[in-house]
Symmetry: D2
Subunit: 203 residues, 4 copies
């Protein structure tokens, strides 16, 4: 019934959910602002197939689900603690169209329908294999987005993507926020995240 979904709409926003609302470990989550940029770069439309590879806490899948009520989202994760986080979060936000896929990418991707969009939030050391698998399965005009927080991942992901015929853009996102509710408002920086967007061919 649609009513089981509605109540949360009065509590949580479609995108921009507070990081604290997710069950997660602090280092794991794609933070609110970077999540918004990531969803924008994913160029979502309502009825697409999205793979969320290395789903972590599931926050990207959950907000993508809010944007694509008719989409099909596959959250792929192998880590036991992350799987527990994702299950709790999917329940909390009564997310209906995210399927949790337990297993290691790229193997766990075999069973999934071909994707229109792929978000790679973590690769478990198999970045190139995942990109090869994505390259073979991505639908025409598909979009791949990857978040890198290390120089190594930034370097390798751009290299692998371009080696496999993708055109890439890397956006370095730096956010500093004033802390609320202190006497003074100190700017606190988040670590920068490189949001890499890839499409096939020259554009």
């Amino acid at each position: 019934l649609i009513r089981t979904y509605a109540p949360n709409l009065t509590h949580y926003p479609l995108i921009g959910i507070d990081d604290e609302e997710f069950q997660t470990s602090k280092k794991l989550i794609t933070k609110q602002e970077v999540r918004a940029v990531t969803l924008a770069k994913l160029q979502l439309q309502d009825d697409l197939v999205l793979w969320d590879v290395g789903a972590g806490s599931g926050s990207v899948s959950i907000e993508a689900s809010n944007l694509m009520p008719n989409g099909r989202i596959f959250a792929v994760e192998q880590n036991a603690q992350c799987l527990a986080f994702i299950r709790e979060n999917l329940k909390k936000f009564t997310t209906r169209n995210v399927k949790l896929v337990e297993g290691e990418a790229p193997d766990a991707l075999d069973e999934l329908p071909d994707p229109d969009r792929v978000f790679i939030g973590g690769s478990g050391g198999h970045l190139e294999e995942i990109i090869i698998a994505v390259d073979g399965r991505l639908k025409p005009e598909g979009v791949v987005v990857l978040n890198a927080v290390t120089l190594d991942t930034l370097t390798k992901s751009v290299e692998f993507l371009e080696d496999h015929g993708f055109t890439t853009e890397a956006a370095c996102v730096n956010i500093a926020k004033t802390r609320n509710l202190t006497e003074y408002k100190m700017f606190e920086a988040q670590n920068p995240v490189y949001v890499i967007t890839a499409r096939k061919g020259n554009e």
Copy 2:
């Protein structure tokens, strides 16, 4: 008919529309990445009333409309060229639930229904008057978001908002992107934008 809306869904994303797709002047538009952060901070839910004050090219209203098919969005603008841009953009993206309000804020706000959310992209020199008007009309648990690109607006908006009982957070958003399709990938910075989020009371 719903079909008249559907075709564009195959061309444009819900959020993250390329800046180049909007009729606008370069300096005017809230850029793709900052627009995404702004929408996240606005904490949108499907059926809300949003005022977009100083709508510019209408890009925030248009993407907010994609997120809130049952919402009511009011794009308030006084500048003739901007009004022309907004009209073209609303048509291009077949946006159904954005009402264009010609006139100067805060006066032009009188006729509108009370807002759940307010985005202030421009104030035409009437920032304090607009904040006073918003303060008197904003629904309980409402959210105000304001984008500042100058030190003066950053300073004054936080001061005025706090003077009127709002709790504020200022997020400085710095984006640098590699330019696509050149032999080498040079990082090009966008000017920083301060995205200020305000709620009533202490949180």
Copy 3:
């Protein structure tokens, strides 16, 4: 004897001393990169008088001393722990021409010679009084530099300085560094610092 000074030259650089080399508390120190920008903004020449107001650990005074062997530097500090840090650091770096001034600004400034350059690293809640005192004493063509880490200090310092006839520039400095010696190189952000530079008159 000059030889007592020389040995350290083989151990420490003139500017860019590692933060870890200073006795300090972590939150207190002007970090290496921001210190370098601060010294550049101070427009130092060899024989000037520099006031370092709210000297903290003394790191700015010490590097300024390396740049101005014939200058006279006054490190003004009232906090007991900071005074202890500064004494240790002046000794460690065998800094010859920094005079430690114990006391609270602006009162402690009365006895000092008129400054060519003033760095305000901390104001102990007396920012406007300090700016008034500096305004009355600064030599023609003098330069004032102030580091702000809070929105409040950014706002007030620019306001006070301009109220007293200074022209200001605010530079937001964002630094993110890869951590050395880990298997991967993660970018870690420092909190942004606003380095405000002020001169008399319109330039």
Copy 4:
């Protein structure tokens, strides 16, 4: 005579010289703030040998010379226009101990004394060859600093340096400044620069 040097000290600072004071093309110069960070990372002491490879407008050499009156600085450049800029700038700032070396690196480095410090501002497409040459000549406890504005140079320089046994740190420097003398103070971003610092061995 020392007097021929002295007058400029009353006009120009030791570091932090305004970018506009240098003869240069806009895109070429290491900007004031990044130059200061670069000099800090170079860990300069008074009597060192510094190679400035791809000296551009000579701004780093000139400020390094102000820090190292007893040092020996070699500005290596092959581009005819840059050579003209450097000559004019060395004259303007009456820089005494910078030797201009016309030619292409790494070949042009053969004749120079072994360096304590190396700054690579440009590589003319010979980055790996230059790093190999530097690796063979750098004195023990030497420091190499390299500025990268493209993802390609960031990636390759860290890779090559680590391949040759250097430990590296990459600092992303983002600066946004308010423009002076306008009615309002808009923050304008500079493009980010990656300042890479390398030393031999594990530290």
